[in-house]
């Protein structure tokens, strides 16, 4: 009996110690984000200034939603999905928590972007997202090998057999739809029309398959394919193009004539966030112009922080100017929120394209 009582005390003591240590370590911010969005020096400065420890998990849109779905919105304190993927995920899986805009220093954020995000991330009257990094998808072209590429559909040109790459994901479907002269965003509300557009895109992508070297899935894999010259044109993110451009001037990011696809990655609170205050602190911290410029350097994309451009180096600015003359900038197609159900239709198309010979 005696040893059992001792054991009981020991257990209680251990549990108490564990609980205490948890409360001490409560100032941890578990951040679910994209590569480059939380560079080491920014994290260190934040930790020094606030005493909050930052734990980073790198991810992508689908993975973020899947992770939070599996845990029903716990396990992370702050996430960064794209603004168009928030509402449908919230509607289906209830994984986010509304943002308290009064705690955000909105003066630091470009008003037009803040407004657009506010509009696009509203669900049942509550706002869920705050804009952070924005960028586009377009074409990365090796001008020596494929100088004629102007639009997504040019990737299917016979001269590029076996030297093209793109993702087998929804941005490709959207991009090709625009290049085929359709407006998929306008058809978001009309399932039948959207299906018709998808059928057209499916046909094109199936025809285009012999041109494809590989469907890329990780950004680094694509960069390697472009670097080695195995792929001479690809549909990809602007930041990757600029990175390659810095290494090899022949490679450049080109805004397609039907319009680059514009995306905004946001800050969102998972439903069971345990460090809400720390999350707001982080948002306000990284939106300072000087800090935001450092994130731009690391991620390769510009942020929604007002005035941060001044702190960004000239190369990136020049690359941006070259890729986006004013006309192309105006021509960007910004993703509206995806209505629930569309992704299933898109999924079937992607499956069939993958299986086609």
């Amino acid at each position: 009996m005696r040893s059992f009582r001792q054991f009981k005390y020991l257990t209680v003591a251990t549990a108490a110690a564990a609980a205490f240590s948890v409360s001490v370590q409560a100032e941890t911010l578990r951040l679910l984000t994209w590569g480059g969005y939380a560079p080491q020096d920014v994290v260190e400065q934040f930790e020094k200034e606030t005493g909050i420890e930052v734990k980073i998990t790198l991810s992508n849109n689908e993975d973020m939603i899947s992770k939070l779905r599996a845990t029903r919105g716990s396990g992370f304190d702050l996430a960064q999905p794209s603004q168009d993927r928030i509402v449908s995920a919230q509607a289906d899986f209830d994984i986010y928590k509304p943002m308290d805009m009064s705690k955000i220093e909105t003066a630091q954020i470009i008003p037009s972007m803040l407004a657009a995000t506010e509009k696009n991330t509203q669900f049942e009257g509550e706002v869920y997202g705050v804009p952070h990094v924005w960028g586009t998808s377009g074409l990365i072209v090796n001008r020596k090998a494929a100088g004629t590429i102007k639009d997504y559909t040019d990737l299917c040109d016979d001269s590029l057999s076996g030297s093209v790459s793109y993702r087998l994901k929804r941005p490709t479907l959207i991009g090709f739809a625009f290049a085929l002269g359709e407006d998929p965003f306008a058809a978001y509300g009309d399932t039948e029309k959207y299906q018709a557009i998808l059928d057209k895109v499916e046909k094109k992508l199936t025809e285009c398959k012999p041109n494809v070297k590989a469907y890329w899935s990780g950004g680094d894999a694509l960069l390697n394919l472009m670097r080695s010259g195995e792929v001479s044109a690809a549909m990809a993110w602007d930041a990757g193009g600029w990175k390659l451009n810095a290494e090899n001037p022949d490679i450049a990011f080109v805004a397609p004539s039907s319009g680059a696809l514009g995306w905004i990655d946001t800050f969102v609170l998972p439903r069971k966030t345990k460090a809400e205050e720390a999350a707001y602190k982080w948002i306000n911290f990284v939106m300072q112009p000087e800090v935001a410029a450092r994130i731009t350097e690391s991620a390769g994309n510009f942020t929604a922080a007002k005035g941060s451009d001044e702190f960004v180096n000239d190369t990136l600015k020049a690359q941006f100017k070259e890729s986006f003359p004013q006309a192309d900038l105006d021509n960007i197609n910004w993703y509206p929120p995806v209505p629930a159900g569309l992704e299933e239709m898109e999924g079937k198309v992607l499956d069939r394209v993958k299986a086609a010979n």
Binding site: I65, F93, S228, G347, D351, K354
Partner: protein, 293 residues
């Protein structure tokens, strides 16, 4: 009073028995059985509207009515069977050499040589193959250097590359059971086979292979299951045409958020692969208990 110590002992014994059994019971129930029950339940749901689900078999009917899914599974199964057979054909002579021809140090050395690739992760191994096979890779470069090819040769992203990767990944799981069973084959049986007039072919066919059959089958089962359930190798080496069933499951779970369909595919994969293994055992007239012991 006299009966008591015995009772106490028995209780203690029983308690000890359950305590010893507890880890495996917990392991099985928490990590294997419960998740599978949950998978079955999830697979029988259908999304009606946001946050609303109802009972449905549509996820299963989708597998049989949508030729894409069915074809992907058949392709995966056929490729896995071929990969298993090729692995067996390559591993058998190697195993025989290790078990019966070599002795002492060279034997251990060759065995370890078969083992070394498994000291690195599957991802690294697969990237190794990609470095070798890609258009700007080693083999392509060597072919050009020797003048056997006048332009870069792409050897990645096709079924042969998948096959090579799968066989390489599976080799050890075939070699180990084969070496073990062949080691247990008395050399005098082989000698007796020759002594009674058998040629090498006869000895192989009527003595060595029947003896090694349990090892062959257990190796084949393990390799087949590993290949069928492999995700990395077909995806990375197969590229745009990989079409592997596990990839389909991954896509349903992760990029489509369609857990219901993914779960149904998972259950179907389990059932159909078990069926194929059962068929294999039936055809070769082996019993599962004997193969696995």
């Amino acid at each position: 009073m006299s009966g008591e110590p015995g009772n106490v002992n028995r209780t203690q014994y029983r308690l000890g028995f359950w305590l010893l059994l507890a880890p495996i019971v917990l392991w099985l129930s928490l990590l294997i059985i419960l998740p599978h029950i949950d998978m079955v339940l999830v697979s029988l749901r259908e999304r009606i509207a946001s946050r609303q689900y109802g009972f449905s078999l549509s996820n299963y009917t989708a597998f049989f009515t949508e030729p894409l899914y069915w074809n992907t599974f058949v392709r995966t199964a056929v490729m896995s069977v071929i990969a298993t057979l090729l692995t067996l054909i390559i591993a058998f002579p190697v195993s025989f050499y290790i078990a019966k021809v070599l002795t002492g140090r060279p034997k251990i050395a060759l065995f370890i040589l078969c083992l070394i690739p498994f000291w690195v992760s599957e991802l690294v191994r697969t990237y190794g193959w990609m470095i070798l096979l890609r258009e700007t890779g080693l083999i392509s470069g060597a072919l050009q250097w020797f003048g056997l090819a006048d332009q870069p040769v792409e050897m990645l992203y096709n079924d042969v590359a998948i096959m090579v990767g799968l066989i390489y990944t599976s080799m050890l799981f075939m070699v180990v059971p084969l070496v073990t069973t062949l080691d247990s084959l008395d050399n005098s049986l082989i000698e007796a086979g020759y002594d009674l007039g058998g040629s090498s072919l006869h000895v192989m066919k009527s003595i060595v292979i029947p003896h090694a059959m349990p090892g062959i089958m257990s190796g084949c089962i393990v390799v087949f299951m590993l290949t069928l359930g492999n995700y990395l190798t077909p995806t990375l080496l197969g590229g745009k045409d990989s079409l592997w069933f596990t990839e389909q499951i991954y896509t349903q779970f992760i990029t489509r958020f369609n857990w219901e369909q993914g779960a149904a595919f998972g259950i179907l994969l389990l059932v159909l692969s078990s069926l194929i293994v059962w068929l294999g055992l039936k055809i070769t007239k082996q019993s599962f208990t004997r193969v696995m012991s």
